[in-house]
Amino acid sequence: MSKKYFDIHKPVFWPAIGLIVLFISVTLIVGDPMEEFFGVFKDWITDKTGWIFIITVNAFVIFCIYLAFSKYGSIRLGGKDAEPEFTTAAWFAMLFSAGMGIGLLFWGVAEPVFHYRSPPFGEGGTVQAAEKAMNYTFMHWGFHAWAIYALVALSLGFFAFNKGLPLTIRSVFYPILGDKIYGWIGDVIDVFAVLATLFGLATSLGLGVKQVGAGIAFLTDIENTVWLQVGLIAGITLIATLSVVAGVEKGVKVLSEWNIRIAATLLVFILIVGPTIFIFRSTIQNIGNYLSSIVEVATWTEAYRDKGWQGDWTVFYWAWWISWSPFVGMFIARVSKGRTVREFVTGVLLIPSFLTFFWLSAMGGSAIFLDLHSGTSVLSDNIIQDEATALFVFLNEFPFTTIGSIVGIILIASFFVTSSDSGSLVIDSITAGGKLDAPVAQRIFWANAEGAVAAVLLIGGGLTALQTATITTGLPFLFILLVMAYSLRKGLQQEYAQQEVLKQEKSRKDYESKLADVVWKNVQKRNQEKKSDPSDKTK
């Protein structure tokens, strides 16, 4: 057994720690102006560079589909003979839990209702607005989002498993930078990725527990105080710590599978108590609508009028997914060894998307349905008032509210745990120089660091400021992702060429008979020598 408790890559670990402390201190000391500053910066990005996001993210979707159906589709992550480490079901569960689970719980009900009430076009609260609402929500949570993750994950997985490079963000630049990735440029890229991941996770955790607290307050008499929230962070961090200590196989995997089971339970619950037939019918109609209008919706840039809707929603989402992509992508890569490119793309792009569509139709779709048929706008008013309690307001419409709500709270908490522990594993990996399994003490350290950062920001303020800051990293990462796509294609091209060369089999029969020939001659020669010289002894 190794006695090493820490196995760090110093040029990444220490600068990352230093910058984290610096950022937090500055945010705490400066206070509100910081939030304003990042807010202005974010607005500038969504306002001025929104169109770059729109076109680029579309390109990612096309690129992923192209890879799956091209000749490179047969390339396997980890080489020809690699076998999947996890069963397909467990793999899906992990993809889902790490990438989106938590967001779907918060926005699954709230987002469609938001769009329904204040649609980008036309009048709110109408049937047209309802259809459009589902359409836009599907786009934000569908192929485009998953394509971003798929691209990052595939690049990382390919360069780590097929090219034997460390599993860190810097590795995807190998075809361009060569051995320079081991120098300072690589360190900078990795430190950047650590910051984006840690702040992304910590701020989500902080804002998330506020919402969990709101849920608890909605259901019980407990007040949603900061201390309740800090307590929740402690609890989530504790479970996450136990999970990272147990490792992917026993921790994240098991929790993810349970997430999916509980989520399925909630979904079935809604299906039974909710408008069952409507959910099935609308899922089909919504998917059709989404597919048929995908080009139009996905390339709409609000060019002829500017209400700022897109900056608040679509571009915000794209930046959000992109800023999370180093983390989610690395985690997906980590669990995807042994899948072919084709399997990977269908697995990451299509299946989670369709499951998401069903979920959104059941949650947000049903809420809109109830609102449309109630004749009043009480329900939708209550939902859009606070997206934290949206799920609970929605569940309140059905029988067995308490059961539904408790399942909801458990689900939110457990999705948080999986985001937190998979995030810790990723940061471990990066700060350990790309090793798959960092020492246990180090995993504990990062899991707790995340909780601590969240708690400090929660008490001291500045959660929103840093979350905004995280989203602004979406812009530089957008360009990094473009480079990634180029690198990946180049790498796959080379891998494919090598695979083709290796395929040519030399005629084994000819070789065998040649070999036999040589041996026969040798044996006969010996025999003759023996005959001519009987004193010669052979062993």
Binding site: Q494, Y496, A497, L502, S507, E512, S513, K514, V519
Partner: protein, 288 residues
């Protein structure tokens, strides 16, 4: 020059090519004074015909022993007895990827490959090695003159050109051979179907090539003169080969790929055709 070419690998395939390669390297040795020669045979099969297996079992010898003995016999025929610097390695790697890993990690300066064995398909091993290995591959044709007096290094000022010049310089110094760089300027006439007078374009292309040559010279001192010729309406490999024959060259050093660095192929067409078509001049393919 910092270090000499010392360690040589020779890929033996048990065909008549082996003898040829041994003869060639033996002659070269008098010129280069190599320190170590490893004769590598990759044993790809584990299963032998039953008769052979029994015959071996009866004598209590392994296939490994037999092949080593056979190859040693050939070595002794060429080099005479007492060859402490010659090793026979019978490798049993499971895949060619593993074999290449072994070769590349052994730090050979050169590996000798026969162009063709006498059983069908043995050229495939060479073709895989030249594409996937990082060790420079020397292809020796049947009619090769076993001495190195004049080296020709065709370059196109691409990524591979620098290592090509470096290795050729080493070779020429160690063997006290002449070294000439050659750059073929190719005018693709199909792009200019309506231009009658190509003189200006030719001048311009030549000027550009000379500029790139100066840049290369800045990076590597001792870079020898570079001859510039205009390509005819044929593949560049043919132009190079004809030039080499005309100049009485006995070794061509070339980069694995040229400036058209398309990753879909692991070897450029010039290197590939030079190896495939030439009958009498050894070709050294530089892989890094």
């Amino acid at each position: 020059m910092e270090n000499k070419l010392d360690r040589i690998a020779l890929l033996a395939d048990l065909s008549s090519m082996d003898e040829l390669l041994l003869k060639y390297i033996k002659k070269l040795d008098t010129q280069f004074e190599f320190k170590q020669l490893d004769i590598i045979h990759w044993l790809e099969v584990e299963d032998l015909p039953a008769g052979v297996r029994e015959a071996l079992a009866a004598e209590g010898r392994s296939l490994n022993d037999v092949l080593t003995e056979e190859l040693m016999e050939q070595v002794e025929a060429q080099f005479g007895p007492n060859n402490a610097n010659v090793n026979i390695l019978i490798r049993t790697e499971k895949s060619i990827t593993d074999l290449i890993k072994f070769i590349d990690s052994s730090g050979y300066d050169l590996m000798l490959l026969g162009k063709k064995g006498y059983y069908e398909g043995s050229g495939i091993l060479s073709s895989k090695l030249v594409r996937l290995s990082k060790t420079p591959c020397l292809f020796v044709p049947e009619m090769a003159r076993p001495s190195v007096a004049a080296i020709l290094a065709p370059i196109d000022f691409s990524k591979f050109s620098e290592p090509v010049v470096k290795l050729s310089l080493k070779l020429s110094q160690q063997a006290e051979a002449s070294l000439e760089l050659l750059h073929v300027i190719k005018l693709s006439m199909q792009f200019f179907p309506y231009i009658k007078d190509t003189k200006d374009i030719k001048q311009e292309l030549k000027r550009k090539a000379e500029e790139r040559y100066r840049q290369l010279k800045k990076k590597l001192d001792k870079t020898p003169e570079c001859t510039m010729i205009f390509g005819k309406d044929e593949h560049i490999s043919k132009t190079i080969y004809d030039y080499a024959i005309g100049e009485g060259v006995d070794l061509i050093v070339i980069g694995r790929k040229g400036s058209h660095n398309d990753s879909d192929f692991l070897i450029g067409s010039v290197a590939e055709r030079l190896i495939a078509n030439d009958k009498s001049i050894p070709v050294l393919v530089v892989n890094q």
